[in-house]
Symmetry: D2
Subunit: 459 residues, 4 copies
C-alpha cells in the first residue's frame, strides 16, 4: 500500500509535502520521495526508510518551487529496492514528468510486455513505470492530452498524481478503489490519500476526488474532467475502513473512527460473548472494541500495552522464548486479565499466527476464557487492487472453517463480522469487498505465477 | 529518571539484560549500557540513544559471562553526554566494580566536595560516581564490606545494582523511593525497576526488594541484609503510579493500570463534568479516562490519535503553523469531537503549555466545550528524588490558581484530583507525594543554584 | 571521467569486479555500481561514494553469478545524483541488459531529442541512457544484433561494456578515445579501463581492445568483430598519459610512468631553469619531476608532503587563513626549500588558482625563486570526449598569455611543454590533443548552452 | 603513539586545535578529542576515529573559550575503546582539569596499584589516568603546585599538556623522549608534538619545549620552570626521525626530511648494491631512497604506487589471491621494474611479513634482482616509551640473523643501516635507540605479563 500527496501554489511546497507524507506514513514505511517543480523543471529526492529519515533540511532545500508531489511506499519482505521508490520523474518528449501512484494495475504485465516489445525499457519492477511509457509514447502533443491518452489504457486500481513544470494532475480510477481527497491551504490546493494530511498542515478539506475524475490544477486554478469513456460503479476499498486508514480520517465521506465503532457494535450484536471485559488489540482494534463494549454492555479495558520502541532489527535471545516477537510489541496487563473471561477485538485475521500468539500471551497472563472477535469477515481472497495481502495459500480462512481456525489459534470462541454487517457498518453498498467475498470488480490475470515471475509490485 | 536491570546465573546474561532494558525503555531514552561479568572481570558497553540503537549482536557478543547489569537513562535538554551514561565500571583497590543507579542523592554535592577534597576525581556530572569513590575509599577490605560502608553515607533516593566478578548486589534506600523488584528465570535471579522486564523475558516475579534491603546474589544463592541502622517509613514515589511506570507493571504490590483507573474514578466523583464524551490524552491518560468514563457514565472515546512515527529531529515548516509540535504527535478525531462537549483526561499538568496546545487543537476540530480533568493534584514542587521535574519557577501551579491556569490553557473548566483522592486511589499512605504536597521526606540543599553550578544530574 | 570493469566465467565475479573497481577508483569517486548475471537474470547495486563505502559483504552476496560489469563515476560539483550512477540495468523487449560507459557521446542531445520524440523516457541526465533506448528500439531481434544496430548511431567517445544473462560485450569507439584492455584470470576473461585492475586481482593482461572493435564473450569463448562501417584514425586521449591514468598502467601499449618521465625530460630540454632543486606537486607530478631532474641534472626532492587524511567536508577556520585549502592537502618541507631556487613540476594548469596557492605556500616557506614547469601544453579548450574540464571561460590559458599567467600565479618563471614535445614524449601521433590544440576529431554541438540546459553529463 | 596540541589566548581555540590535530593525524588514527576552556570551566568532546569524523561544526561550537588542548591516539588491534580516548577531563578538589599525554609511564602499574590501594578508581586502561589521580591527591593547594607534585612521581616518557580554566601547562620528561614544540600565532601561544601543526594554522615555530621543562602559559604570558630535581641526559626518540614524524617536521632542531635523506646516503655508503634503479616503499621510505640514489649514483624511481583509497574494512576475495593486502596498498610499476636489478629502500623491518610480500610483488612484476635496504638498524627490542612495537617474540630481528631474514623475505640481498650510521645521520648522540640497541635509559617492569594483565596502554 502507499500514500500520495500533492500541492501547488505554495511557497513552501516541498516542506508541506514532507509534512503531508509524515501524516500518511501509516500507508507505507519502506521508502519516501518528493518531486518538486519550480515552474521550469522538476527536482527529485527518493530514499529508503521513513519520511523523517529520508529527508532533512538540506535535502528539502534542494527541492525548490511552489508545487510538489510525494509518495510513501509500503514495506514488504522482498524487492525492497530504491529503484521502486516513487515518485518517478523523467524527461520525455513532452518535457518533465513526475508521477506518484497508489494502487495496482491489473493489466500491468500485458502493458509491460507490449511496451517492451515496442522498445520501452524498464528500470523498476513497479507497474507505475508503464504509465510513464504510455504517456511518453502517446501520439498526442500536449502533456495533458498524453495523460488522457494513457489513462484509457489503464485497468485496475489507481489514484495518481502527475507533476509537470506547469501543473498538478490528480486522477482516480473509475471504480474509485483507492481514496483521494482535495483540500485548500491559503491560495494553494492540496491532494492527498487521506485528509489527515490536510489536518496536519492546517489545510481545509474540500471534497474527495470522485471516482473517474481527473482534476487539473495549474497556476490559473482548478478544472475537473471525466476522461474515462464509461461510468463504472463506485467500488471504494472497504478495507481502508476496517484497517488501513487512520481512525481520524474521513474516507468517501465516512468517518473511519465511527465506522470502526459500528463494526464493533454490529459484531457485538451478531456474536455476543459471555465475558467480563473487552480488550482491543492496539492500536487498530481500539475503536471496534469500544463499539463492541458499548453494545454488549461489557467494560472496555486497554488491557494490552503496545510498545513504541520497536526498532527494525531486534536481537532475539538464542534460547527460545515463547512467542517472543509478539511479547516485544504487545504486553497484557496481567493484573487485569487474571481470572477473567476476556473478549479480544481485532480488526482482521489473515494468517492466524499473530492471533495465536496474542491469545497464548493473554492466556499465560492468567485469563480464564478468551473470546476472539474479528471486526471484519474472514479474509479468504488476495487483493489485486493495492493492498499487500499474502497469496491465497497463506490465508487461513481460504482453507479452514471458523471452528478449525478457533482451534488453531486456541481461542475459547471465535467469531467474524458478517459481510452484511460489514457493509451496514460502513454504510452504502458501493465498496469493494473482494478480499472477503471474492467478488472482484475488475478481472485480473489468471496466473499468479506470471505476476511473481515479473516481480511486479503494487503501489 | 532511569531504569535498571540485573541478572546472575544465566548463560545469556547480557542478551537478557538487553531485552530487560528494552522493557524498561520508557524509563529513559537518552543512553543505555550493560556491564557483564565473566567471573574474572567485567566487560562494558554504553552509548547514547535507545537500547536497540546502542546494542547489536556484535556488541552483545563482546559482553560475555553469566551475570550482567544494565541501565537506561532519561533524556533531558542539556548535559546529554556519554560520560553520564551508566552503568559505570571501574577498577579500584577491591578489584572490578560496576554500578547502575536509579534515583538521586540529596547529599550529592556534599559527598562530592568532601571526596574531591580528599583527592577523588570526577569524570561525570552524575551523583552516582560519588558512590563508587566511597566504595573505593572504604577502609574495609572485602567488596561487600566496602559497599555496606558506602551505603551508610548515602542520603536520598537510590535503587542500586552493583556488579563484581563474583556477585550481584541490589539495594533500595530505606524510604524505598524508587521501585525495585526481584524475579527468577530458571536458576537465574533477576532484578529490575519494574516487573514488566520479567514478563518480557519469561521470568517469574518473586517480590519487591524491600525499602532498606540489600540483596546479595552470588553463584551460591541469595541472601538478604538490612545494612541501614534505622528503619524509616516507606515513601515510595506516587508519581510512578500517576505517570511514570508502565500500566502493565505492579509497583509496591499495586497494579498500575488499576491504580490509574481509580484515579479517574475518584476524579469523576470529585469533579464531574456535564459533557458528551470522555477522551484521554494518549497513551498515559488512557486508564484514568476509562475510569472517569465508567464512574461518570459518559462514553469513553479514543478521540485523539497518537503518531508512532515521530523522529528526534523533525523539520518544522518555516511559516508558523499553529501548535505544530502537538499536531504532529496528537491528532483529534474531528468527526467525533465536532459539536461535542468533551472531557479530556490527562495524567498531570506541569508547565501548562502542552495542555494549552491540546485544547486549542481539539477546539479547532470543532468541540463545543472542553473540560480538562487531571488525574493528579497540581504539580507545585520540584522532585529531588529522581524525577526530572523542571524548576519551581516553571511549574505553573506553583504560582497560579486553578482558575488562572484554566484561563491560560483556555479550558472551559479545569479540575485536578485532590491529594486525598490520589492516596485513596493508589492505596495506603506510604507514598512520597512531595511534588504535589511539598512534604519532602528527606531534606535537600537549600540552594538550587549550587545544584545547577555543579550540574549534578539525577538518575 | 569514469572507469569500467567486466568479467565473465568466474565463480567470484562480483567480488572481483569490486576489487577491479577499487583499482580504478582514481577514475571516479562519486558513485560505484556492479551488475552481475547469474545466467538467467541480472542483479544490480549502485550507490554514491567510494567502492568500499558502496559495497560490503552483504551487498556483494546479493550479486550472484559468474559474470559482472562494474562502473566508477567521477565527482563533479553539481548533478551528483544516484540516478546517474552506473551500470544501468533494465528489462526490455530483448530481456535483461546492463551497461557501463566511459566516454561522452557528442550526439547525445540529438539522440535524446529524437528518442524522446519517439516516446522514450529518460530517468537520468546521463548520455548513456540513450544507448539503452537505441537497443530497446532496434528492430533487430537478438540482443547482439540490437547492440550492433545501436552502435551505428553513436558518435563521440565510448568504451562500453554490456551485460546480458548470456554474455559480456566490450566495445571501443572507432577513434579509441578512451582506453580499454582485455585480460585473463584462469578460465575467466576480464575487461577494464586500465590494466592496473588486472594486476590487482592477479589477472594477466592480454591486449587492448582495438579502436572500433567489439569483443563478444560468452560461456563458449571470445570472438571479435568490427561493427563500425568505416575505419577512423586512432585518437586515443593524450591526457590519460599526462594526468588521468595511474602511473603503473600501460595505455595503448605505452607505459604511463615512463611517458610521464619523458614529458619531464623534454620539458627540461625545452624550458630549463637555473635552480637548485626540483619538486613535484604530488602525487601526479612525481614522474615528470623525476624526468625533469634527470635531464636537467638538478636534484629531485620530495619537497611537498601530501596529506592522506583529507575528508570530504573539512571545517575551515572562521578567520581567514591564507590558502588554507591547499595547505591542508600539501605542505612544503620548509627546511628544504628555505633560501632555495626551486623548480616545481606539475602535470597541467587549468584555472591557475591551485598553482597560485601552491606557489604562495612554497614562497611562504622561504623559497628564493619559484619556477613552475608544466608537463603539458596550456589547456585552452574544453574536452567533449569524457574528461571533465571546465568551460572555456574558466580555462586561464584560453584568454591569457604565458606571461600573464606567470604573473597571476606569482611564479618567477613559468613554462609549458610544447605540443610537439608532448606527442614526442608519449610516442606516435595517434592521440587526441583537442584540449591543448583545439583539433577536435569528432564535431560537437555548437551551443554549449544546449548542453547545459539538458544537463547531460559525460561518463 | 599519540599527538598532542594546545593553544591559549585565541578566540578560535577549539577550531585551531581541530586543525592542529588534523596536522598530527599521522601520530594516531584511533580516537581524537578536544577539551576547551572558557575561563570558568572546561568543555570536552572525544570520539573514535579520525579528526574529521569526530568533529563537525556543531560539536566544535560546543567547545567555547580561548584555550584548548587536543589529542589524537594511535590504532591498535585490541583495547580500542572510547574510555581511553583523550584528553581526559575531570572535576577534582582543585577544580577542573584536562590532560593530554604522549608517551608511556614505566611505573604505571606501580602507580596504579598504590593509587587503587589508597582508594582511587580507574575508568580507563590508560596510564594517563594515574597522573590525574596524583594531582587530585596532592596535598598541595594550588593546581600548579599539585601538578609539580605529581610530576615528581612519574617515570618514563611523557610529553604532557594540562588545561585548567586559567592556564595551559606543557611538560616534557627529563629525557625528552617524545617531542614537544612551542609556537605563536598572533598573541596566542601554541604547543604541539610537531611543528607541522603550527605550519598548517599559520603559526610561527618558536622553539622546542626542553627536556625537563615545564611551560606555564596563562592570560598574562609564559613562564618556564624546571620542576624535576635532577637533570638527565637528553634521550629523544630516534624513531621519530626514522619513521614516525612527518618529513616536513623539525624535531629537536633537526629537519626530518634531511635526516632521512642522510639515513639513505649513509646506508648507500655502508651497503651499496650493484643495481639499476632505487625504489622507495612509499610514502615513508621516499626521502631515504632519494638519499640512497644520490649517494650511490643510481636513478631514483617512484616505482611503487600507493593507493589512497584503502578503507578500514576491505573485503578480500574468498579464493586466495597471493599477498592480496599489500597489492591493495602498493602496486609496482611493472614496465619499470621488468628485467631490472632493483634496490628497494624501506624505513624499518619489524616482523618481516610486509617486506616479504612487497618483495614477492615486485618479483612477480618481473624484477631480476631485489636488494632490500633498510634505513635503520634491525628492530630487536620493544619500546617502553610510547611507540607501539609488538612484543619481542614478534620482532624477527630479535631471533634471526640478517641472512636468515633475507632468506625469509626472499630478497637477493638485505642490509640494515648500522647504529653508528643511524646516529651520524640524525646528528648528535642524545637519542634513545633502545628499540635497536636494547639500551633503555629508564628501567621498566620485568614482567611483560603484568603489563598485559592490567592492559595498560601507552599514549
Amino acid at each position: 500500500m502507499c500514500g500520495i500527496f500533492g500541492i501547488i501554489g505554495h511557497a513552501e511546497a516541498s516542506n508541506l509535502a514532507y509534512l503531508g507524507l509524515h501524516a500518511l506514513q501509516h500507508r507505507g514505511q519502506e521508502s519516501a520521495g518528493i518531486v518538486s517543480s519550480d515552474g521550469a523543471r522538476l527536482h527529485a529526492h527518493r530514499g529508503m526508510g521513513l519520511v523523517h529519515d529520508v529527508f532533512d533540511e538540506t535535502v528539502l532545500s534542494r527541492l525548490p518551487g511552489d508545487a510538489a508531489i510525494g509518495h510513501v511506499r509500503y514495506s514488504t519482505a522482498g524487492q525492497s529496492i530504491l529503484e521502486n521508490a516513487q515518485p518517478f520523474s523523467v524527461s520525455y518528449g513532452g518535457g518533465w514528468l513526475g508521477i506518484a501512484h497508489n494502487g495496482n494495475l491489473t493489466n500491468a504485465i500485458e502493458l509491460r510486455s507490449s511496451l517492451e516489445a515496442a522498445g520501452s525499457i524498464f528500470q523498476s519492477s513497479s507497474d507505475t513505470e508503464a504509465i510513464v511509457h504510455l504517456i511518453a509514447r502517446s501520439r498526442a502533443g500536449a502533456p495533458l492530452d498524453r495523460i488522457r491518452d494513457a489513462l484509457l489504457r489503464l485497468e485496475g486500481a489507481f489514484s495518481l498524481l502527475f507533476s509537470t513544470p506547469d501543473m498538478l494532475v490528480a486522477v482516480r480510477d473509475p471504480h474509485g478503489f483507492r481514496p483521494l481527497a482535495l483540500g485548500r491551504i491559503g491560495n494553494a490546493l492540496v491532494v492527498a490519500s487521506e485528509p489527515v494530511a490536510f489536518d496536519l498542515i492546517g489545510a481545509e478539506t474540500l471534497r474527495e476526488v470522485d471516482p473517474g475524475e481527473m482534476v487539473v490544477i495549474d497556476r490559473a486554478g482548478l478544472r475537473s474532467e471525466r476522461p474515462f469513456p464509461q461510468s463504472l460503479p463506485r467500488r471504494s476499498c472497504i478495507f481502508e475502513h476496517v484497517y488501513f486508514a487512520r481512525p481520524d480520517s474521513v474516507i468517501d465521506g465516512v468517518g473511519v473512527y465511527e465506522a470502526r465503532k459500528n463494526l464493533g457494535r454490529i459484531l457485538a450484536e451478531e456474536s455476543p460473548a459471555d465475558a467480563d471485559i473487552v480488550l482491543p488489540v492496539p492500536d487498530s482494534g481500539v475503536p471496534a472494541a469500544i463499539g463492541f463494549a458499548e453494545r454488549s454492555g461489557l467494560p472496555f479495558e486497554m488491557g494490552m500495552i503496545r510498545s513504541h520502541y520497536i526498532g527494525r532489527t531486534f536481537i532475539e535471545p538464542r534460547q527460545s522464548i515463547r512467542h517472543f516477537g509478539v511479547r516485544l510489541k504487545l504486553a497484557p496487563v496481567r493484573a487485569l486479565v487474571r481470572g477473567k473471561r476476556v473478549v479480544v477485538v481485532d480488526d482482521s485475521l489473515v494468517r492466524g499466527t499473530t492471533s495465536r500468539k496474542i491469545i497464548k500471551t493473554i492466556r499465560d497472563a492468567g485469563a480464564r476464557e478468551i473470546h476472539l472477535r474479528i471486526s471484519s469477515p474472514p479474509t479468504r481472497f488476495p487483493c489485486f487492487y493495492g493492498i499487500d495481502t499474502p497469496s491465497r495459500r497463506e490465508l487461513i480462512a481460504s482453507s479452514h472453517t471458523v471452528d478449525e481456525i478457533a482451534k488453531y489459534i486456541t481461542a475459547d470462541s471465535l467469531a467474524f463480522l458478517s459481510n452484511e454487517g460489514l457493509h451496514r457498518a460502513v454504510g452504502g453498498n458501493a465498496h469493494c469487498d473482494a478480499c472477503f467475498s471474492g467478488n472482484y470488480p475488475v478481472p485480473f490475470p489468471e496466473s499468479a505465477d506470471d505476476r511473481v515471475h515479473l516481480r511486479l509490485v503494487a503501489n
